[in-house]
Symmetry: C2
Subunit: 210 residues, 2 copies
DNA sequence: GCAATTTTTGACCGATTGGACAAACGTTAG
DNA sequence: CTAACGTTTGTCCAATCGGTCAAAAATTGC
């Protein structure tokens, strides 16, 4: 049965699908959708191409599944923002969480970056729907903070864009960051430096002038 | 003669090579290196594939030429930073110039982003050489400003990364930005909003605490 | 106007691609 | 043991890819 692609039933199907997705994430993140080949993915997953196509009905199917999974975890930090805590603390921990995700899930970040760069052919509806709704919601919270004089008045949309851009930069442009910083200051130190800098930039940048 | 690929000699060669590069920039920026096909580029340039290959000896040759051109103009704003002017003014105009480039040359930005995302296979030596040297140089200037108490003390490398990330974001993630902001606030207004926000963020974020 | 040179094209090639398929193999419930 | 079902693979295919080549067409120098 080719039902495998629709709903996993057996233990093997669940395991193998997971194995394929893990391999595909690596390949897609590195080469983009068109740059990746089914053979590469199958090879990385340790199985033959027809075997892989037994679990996913097409290359597009794999990619779509990955993107869908990614979005849930990717937007989690943003969802967590609420207006019950201290605004500065709230923003600070959002930045830190996003930076941690760039460090811990760079492949997911690059997969997403690739998709957006190509014009978001597979996720545009989600961007205009779910994502926009979520951002609009958080923008209102941030506006509340500004009205209350907790943070400086500025454009909340561009604030969110700036946080996304600066944090994801460390995953998407990792090669460039590493090349510029050089072999010294590698590993954990780089992450802490970035965290410290971004924290200062956004906290001071949003401090209310008095 | 296939010398066309090496050194343009005639008027037609100069014009046609320019036409091809213009078309290729569009295609490469949208689909990445592997995603783009010679046929697509030839079609966009209004000529046949063999004709295109008369002017460039391979797909890689076109791409390499584009990247090489890009880098000169891309790094120009950074080169312009010097320590004779007022630090805040200097940084502010650097940010504005970078943002203008993201607005006026989004295809170049995406071409570069694609290259870096794929691991910078064609420009890694340049990143580790020329770019690193240039950044190191400007970092020293920024450090001087900090020592002189003109701007707050922080990591100059990550400051530069943050400026790159936030400005290029508007070119590379344009689809996402547009989707989130919606049809209103399109066009020139978006650029001015972004400019105003980034200016505030970096100027206030780097203000010396008194 | 004509010959040399440059430019353009149609036809073609081998390699790679995503995917189909049936046969073989493994597993498991009765 | 065996029939039914799940898994794996070798083989094949049509489409597309980057690139070649020789010959036709256009241009240029004289």
């Amino acid at each position: 049965m080719d039902q495998a692609a629709r709903k996993p039933r057996t233990r093997i199907q669940i395991e193998k699908r997971e194995l394929i997705l893990e391999a595909a994430l690596e390949i897609f993140a590195q080469h983009g959708f068109r740059g990746a080949t089914i053979d590469q993915i199958a090879d990385a997953a340790g199985m033959s191409k027809p075997n892989l196509l037994y679990y996913f009905k097409s290359k597009d199917d794999i990619h779509r599944t990955l993107i869908q999974r990614l979005l849930d975890t990717w937007l989690a930090p943003l969802r967590e923002i609420d207006d019950i805590g201290d605004p500065v603390t709230e923003l600070r921990s959002y930045i830190r969480r996003k930076l941690e995700m760039a460090r811990d899930y760079p492949r997911e970040s690059r997969l997403f970056a690739n998709e957006i760069l190509q014009g978001a052919p597979r996720v545009l509806p989600m961007l205009e729907g779910e994502l926009k709704t979520l951002v609009d919601e958080k923008v209102e919270i941030i506006r509340g903070w500004m009205r209350a004089g907790k943070i400086a008045r500025t454009d909340p949309y561009h604030l969110i864009f700036a946080i996304w851009a600066t944090t994801q930069h460390y995953a998407d442009f990792d090669v460039q960051v590493r090349a510029v910083l050089g072999p010294a200051r590698d590993g954990e130190g780089r992450f802490e430096d970035a965290a410290r800098f971004l924290e200062q930039l956004f906290v001071e940048g949003l401090r209310v002038k008095g």
